[in-house]
Amino acid sequence: MGKLAIGCFPGLVGNMTFDFAMKLADAAADKGHSVSIWFSGNATGSVKAHQKHLKDYSTGEKPLLALIAKGVEICTCEACTVARGVQKPESIEGVQWNAMHWYLARVHAADRVLLIGGE
């Protein structure tokens, strides 16, 4: 099966692009592909634990935990994340923290690369 490297930049709330990225990763993982997701920009706000899932808003925690359980690698840009006031101990368990070269390394190994742009 293939290796898919997804770069995800949009914010969790305000559009459905983040949700699409999660659904796509889930579908690819279900088909047996190896999937990695890199969060940068506003998408890094999604890694904060203890999100309250109000029905009018997208949530990051539930799909991220499900993807991690399926073996999807998820990493957040440390600089982007701390710039938004989220510290590592507050992060969803299983999310990796690293720098931008993490994404480039996954791009190097990938058969297909998607960059899902943000604001």
Partner: protein, 136 residues
Amino acid sequence: MGDVKVAMIVQKPQYKGETSRLAITHAISYQTVEILLEDGETVTPKLCFIGEGVLGLQKGQNAMELYGITSTESHMKNTLLVDLDVLVCKEDLDKYGIPEDAMPNADEMGADKTIQVVPFAEIQKAIEEANHVMFF
């Protein structure tokens, strides 16, 4: 695969959103990716500015003085300092009336590279030669 070529295409100005600025910093990170790769493996980005992406590259920016943040000009100098290939679409510069000599350089920092103002055909070639293309 030894070297993986990535064409990073910036279509939006940095002052309209964070993503186009992140294109620049992601490209610069090619310098340190080798710590996560095997011997002989590399990633080679080409950073290309097209459309509205050519806006906001001009020299003489004062973002640090006025906003306390790094300017796009400063980021562009860093790309040159780490020997990135930076291509700026000539047709789009002409469209917006931006002269080629408004592009910054990093001569004073000792950079060997300069920003390459090129016809779109050159950027198209970079896209065709790349293993992966990213649109920012």
